[in-house]
Symmetry: C2
Subunit: 401 residues, 2 copies
């Protein structure tokens, strides 16, 4: 089992290759949550995620070991580990072969190729890709999390946090396979034993949470989640052992809470944080009372979110918060009626983004038409004042779901 000594050694090893990322205080998130909130910006790490720390530590140590200095490494990954191994190999002059399942997103596949790796698409799911990668005996296999050198590399984040800030009450860490939290918890508990280390998972993929509750490793097929890179079948053996020893508590957060957290980072902090990286803020916001006036650190593990996902999160967030309203107005199908409805909306100074006019819906009485309006508003109250005004003028109006 690794100790703080391994992590301190890793810090020396990987120092020349990685960013010592920033730990910043967030006024707006402190105000919002009532806690004193600090953010560890691993989303600004090289390759956009913390995974390079473990990859550099593992691969540098491999080079030192006789017999394994083949210069050829292989990994299986759908996301950040792929880019980390590809980048580290490129920097260290090794050849990297990355096995990805056929279903991997084009963006992640291209990013990995961009770092000079050979990409092999294999199998329908991650498990197939992993088995294939492990079977390639001419390459040294680099596990994404269940490896002591990898864990020690990720643990350097804990060292940096404790060097930059004192009297921390809690550190929130995203958990997938458990490599990140196992490393951070080992470092934090050695340097600041009273600091609570809290692991966070998506409700859709709660295997580390379940394993902790059951006291033994418990697998479960993950459901789709915005926090895709931490949606794993099960935690690792080595990481689970370290979590059992050092992690105080595990929390779960839902998809809406994760989407809201991603949006808050974009809007309030001007930071792109991937779903998995935003679970920490989601967890804090669901438990504000308990952390009131406490000093908490949120680890933002990565920023590699597909733009098509950001797009959906932005829209969802704007609709949920009432800043975009989508509603239907039923009106007489006659000249000037649409003009009159637009007049009401204009009077309330809502900005129309999209409009559709429907006369064919099966549910419409003959002689009626329906307008579907997408409008930018000040929020739910504003939207409801528009509804009330339209209803007062005799129009049937309702949210479109």
């Amino acid at each position: 089992m690794i100790t703080i000594n391994d992590i301190q050694a890793a810090a020396k090893t990987i120092g020349p290759y990685i960013h010592k990322t920033l730990l910043i205080r967030s006024n707006s998130l402190s105000l919002l949550s009532g806690a004193e909130v600090y953010l560890k910006l691993e989303n600004l790490q090289k390759t956009g995620a913390f995974k390079v720390r473990g990859a550099f530590n593992k691969m540098t140590r491999l080079s030192l070991q006789a017999g394994q200095a083949s210069g050829k490494v292989i990994a299986a990954s759908m996301g950040n580990h792929a880019q980390a191994v590809a980048f580290a190999a490129q920097q260290l002059g090794k050849h990297a072969r990355i096995v990805m399942p056929m279903s991997v997103s084009i963006v992640k596949e291209e990013a990995t190729r961009g770092y000079g790796a050979e990409v092999v698409l294999y199998g329908d799911g991650f498990k197939d890709a992993l088995e294939y990668a492990q079977s390639q005996k001419d390459h040294v296999f680099i596990h994404a999390f269940d490896d002591e050198d990898v864990i020690a590399g990720q643990g350097t984040i804990g060292l940096e946090i404790c060097a930059d800030l004192e009297n921390i009450d809690a550190v929130f860490v995203p958990v997938g396979g458990g490599g990140l939290i196992a490393g951070i918890a080992t470092a934090v508990k050695a340097l600041s034993p009273r600091t609570a280390v809290i692991g966070v998972q998506a409700e859709a993929a709660p295997t580390a949470f379940l394993s902790r509750r059951n006291g033994k490793i418990t697998g479960q097929t993950p459901l789709p989640t915005i926090a895709d890179v931490i949606a794993l079948e099960r935690p690792g053996d080595k990481t689970f052992e370290l979590m059992e020893r050092h992690v105080d508590e595990m929390k779960l957060v839902g998809e809406d809470a994760i989407a809201r957290a991603v949006l808050l980072f974009l809007e309030r902090k001007k930071l792109v944080v991937e779903g998995a990286g935003a679970v920490t803020l989601a967890a804090l916001l669901e438990d504000c009372e308990r952390y009131e006036k406490k000093r908490v650190v949120l680890v933002l593990s990565g920023g590699n979110i597909d733009f098509t996902v950001i797009d959906r999160i932005i829209r969802k967030g704007l609709v949920t918060s009432g800043r975009i309203g989508v509603f239907e107005v039923t009106l007489d199908d006659a000249f000037g009626k649409l003009h009159a409805v637009m007049g009401v909306i204009a009077l309330h100074r809502a900005s129309i983004l999209d409009i559709a006019h429907d006369r064919l819906a099966a549910s419409l009485p003959i002689g009626k038409a329906r307008v579907i309006v997408t409008a930018e508003t000040r929020g739910r109250k504003h939207l409801e004042s528009i509804f009330a005004d339209l209803a007062g003028k005799g129009y049937e109006v309702r949210y479109r779901t």
Copy 2:
């Protein structure tokens, strides 16, 4: 005319209220441009833009002056200055009235209210709002840029850059009214005379550029631009005088280049940068050869971009780079034909985002139908290989514009 002494005094005055923002080296943008690129992150400044520096300096100095300690300030702004004055007033215990034109975006209006300011909507454009604000004699008017205390406040950015980094070849600064560049240029030229200070404007709003070229202040009505907060009718008198003295060169950049720069910051740097803040990267990328191996600093002035704008920029960027392809396929209007087209696209592993089927277009021959496909692809080459395959199978296929 202000000097480095005024800026050093401003730094002391505003120190307790603002973030000393980070200056980070960007590997990915250095690789992309060939220059050694540093970013000054004023988008992570309080209120999301540099404007708080000038606002705090002005308002703190007002408090020290007899007769003006009324505690009531007024400003006219469509954007970042509004939020800056509102926030500074809140922190300093003053009342702020902010005049905004009726056309201001709801998001910016709400953000300003969020900092506790009274918001007055007045007039159709910025000029009306400005005149109204200046006519309110019971409040002290805070100009957005043409004020020596404001300019000195913005100049503190130049001090910080020169304290953090040596041997800078060029600093790129966004220019609207000129307050930011006037302050930065005054500081930089005093501390590092050999460093070139380059101002950047949008082609759509080139009044500082034109004024410099003509050697006298030249006004022009701005056209719509993504860099909306630097789209002004004319630069200031005081700022123009300082620009004439200290600024080496002015550049213009187009809308596509600005959109691309916003997207690069989101994707490569995980940073939200508003259009006006991204013009600096756009200007560098259009002049890579000249800055090869040079050490350049890009000032990212703010991050307050509306999500509806981000949305459009992301889509535009993905389409321009070929990562989203929108194309039309004309096919026989018969059973199984759509299935066959989908088969070709699936074989190329392009991911379909949206699809529409049109049989009514006036240009279609009887017996033909048209499918409009929006698909995620690896880029333009990938898209063209799909086109070639479809054309080879006898389908008419073309880009949808």
